[in-house]
Amino acid sequence: MTSFTCDESVSLCEGNMMEVCGSTDSCLREFGCEQSLLSRPDGSASFVQGDTSVLAGVYGPAEVKVSKEIYDRATLEVLVQPKVGLPTVKERSQEQCVRETCEASLLLTLHPRSSLTLVLQVLHDDGSLLSCSLNAACMALMDAGLPMSCLFCGVTCAIDADGRIITDPTAAQEKESRALLTFAVDSTERKVLMSSTRGSFSVHELQQCIAVSQKASEKIFQFYRDSVRRRYSKTL
């Protein structure tokens, strides 16, 4: 019985591979990042992907309200501020995604009974907003010097109507896509920390997108390394 089901799944795969061509159009847009651009927050960074830009600021570790304190860990609070209007449910769900990722990679137990506040301000949205927010958040946490067990980065893939996978899509590409997947990848073992998807896609496409994101994350981590090296080149 066991082997029977295995064969079935293999044949399905082959069928899928022939119909859905695994061609990918992956290139990442222009990146830019600036650290420590705000004087008040403990750590701040702005991350730019093409035209999408997000500004992140971190305050912490600081005092926490008694109602929110956790006895053995720091309380992480994430706020996403949209450009126009008040924060809506969409921002709340993005906050949730970012918070899960940060809690997985920050060493929160080193700062019990403190609060960490991460504020993300959307400066311009031209597609792949969630991954840009994740990247900005990671750079801001690095800039603040908070202890982390691993770095993380966000990659967005869009599957358009032909089945092609586009990485780092613009807003126009996102609109026409059949599915939009965002993954947060960690730096040590390239594992997926968080995934947020919209639309319908097959298991095969999902695994392809994960693999593409892992490849793309290598470029992004290299970019992190370069920018931090450049930043500390005068002091070290």
């Binding site: 830019g32 600021g57 706020l79």
Partner: protein, 372 residues
């Protein structure tokens, strides 16, 4: 405070000096960033068609909103009712709306039915003193920069053209009111223009004068409860007029530069304004991602994971018309296993099948987790 007595300021400015103002624009029309020293503010203008107010059917609606983002300072919180936020909002409204710097009648599309609602959102990004001035500069610059979509009215029908079809048009702005803040120390003896955050904390009172370059005062606001002499207020207004003309020139120059850059077709926006020379900034060009072995990798992964079998077993129907739920699952109570084995052979087989299925399922789930 002691520095004031020596006529010197913390950052080396003179008493009437403004900090360095830098204005940059975003990618789309109506987005502008203003740096006043270290204070950073972003303004975004957007518009939509709505029904007008009942008592003013010919005029468009202007809506101002200042967001004291928690990014700017640890004291600001997400809930908006702080005194400072109300004060700033009110001041900005008075400065821009009551001075009638924007022609609201030109925003009317169909009288009584459709007018443009212009919404100005100002976000504070970094609080290093003098938020009001920075906010007013950002708001008026963003309004000057904004372009609304072109429309055509034919009888009752209104067609809104997208930016690709027809060029959007600018708002009609009569004049640019800009506010200048003065802080007073020691009951009005000492006066400083453009207080930074530390100076703001120890000041006794604040005087805000909004003027335009034609030397017309748009609004005056005094807070802090200090009493000022008449000639002090007049002196302040003279200083303000000088400052306002300087700032207005700066704004027009920035708008000109931006217009030129857009005409030349260059990309403009926050991305472009990232300072290249700074050590804290880095830029990388578009890069392709190696995806040659992606398909093979994906194939491998799928081969390793098995299709997880149906986790919900369909309910057994022993007789037509009778449905049963929760039958056919292996029960985990050790006691009842013996009883089950004594029952007829058919059911036993079913149980055995289900047992095997469950084993596979747990193995499949395990494999799934291994990959992820």
């Amino acid at each position: 405070l002691s520095l004031c007595l020596l006529f010197r300021r913390l950052d080396g400015r003179q008493t009437y000096d403004y900090r360095k103002i830098k204005i940059t624009f975003g990618t789309d029309y109506g987005c502008c960033y203003v740096d006043l020293g270290k204070t950073r503010v972003m303004a975004q203008v957007s518009c939509e068609l709505v029904a007008p107010k009942e008592n003013r059917p010919n005029e468009g609606i202007m809506f101002f909103n200042i967001e004291l983002s928690p990014l700017a300072s640890p004291i600001f919180e997400q809930g908006r009712q702080s005194e400072l936020s109300v004060k700033l909002n009110r001041q900005l409204e008075r400065c821009l709306r009551n001075s009638k710097c924007i022609d609201t009648e030109s925003l009317c599309v169909v009288s009584g039915e459709k007018v443009w609602q212009i919404r100005v959102d100002v976000h504070m990004l970094n609080h290093d003193g003098n938020l009001m001035d920075a906010a007013s500069i950002a708001a008026i610059t963003a309004l000057c920069h904004f372009r609304r979509p072109d429309i055509a009215v034919q009888g009752e029908e209104v067609t809104v053209y997208s930016p690709e079809e027809r060029d959007p048009i600018a708002l009609s702005i009569y004049h640019m009111p800009i506010s200048v803040s003065f802080s007073f120390f020691q009951q009005g003896t000492y006066l400083l223009v453009d207080p930074c955050e530390r100076e703001e904390r120890v000041m006794d009172g604040l005087l805000m004068i909004a003027m335009n370059k034609h030397r017309e005062i748009c609004s005056v606001q005094s807070s802090g409860g200090i009493m000022l002499l008449k000639e002090q207020v007049l002196r302040c207004s003279k200083i303000a007029s000088v400052k306002v003309s300087e700032i207005t020139e700066l704004i027009s120059k920035a708008l000109e530069n931006d217009k030129k850059a857009r005409k030349a077709g260059g990309r403009c926006g926050f991305a472009e304004s990232l300072p290249q020379e700074r050590i804290t900034a880095l830029k990388m060009d578009e890069m392709p991602v190696e995806v040659t072995d992606v398909t093979e990798q994906a194939y491998d992964i799928i081969q390793k994971t098995k299709e997880p079998p149906q986790t919900v077993p369909s309910p057994l129907v022993p007789a037509p018309g009778v449905g049963q739920v929760d039958q056919g699952q292996q029960n985990t109570w050790g006691l009842e296993e013996e009883e089950e084995e004594r029952e007829d052979g058919v059911e036993e087989e079913a149980v055995m099948e289900v047992e095997q299925q469950k084993e596979e399922e747990s193995k499949g789930a395990q494999r799934y987790f291994n990959i992820i």
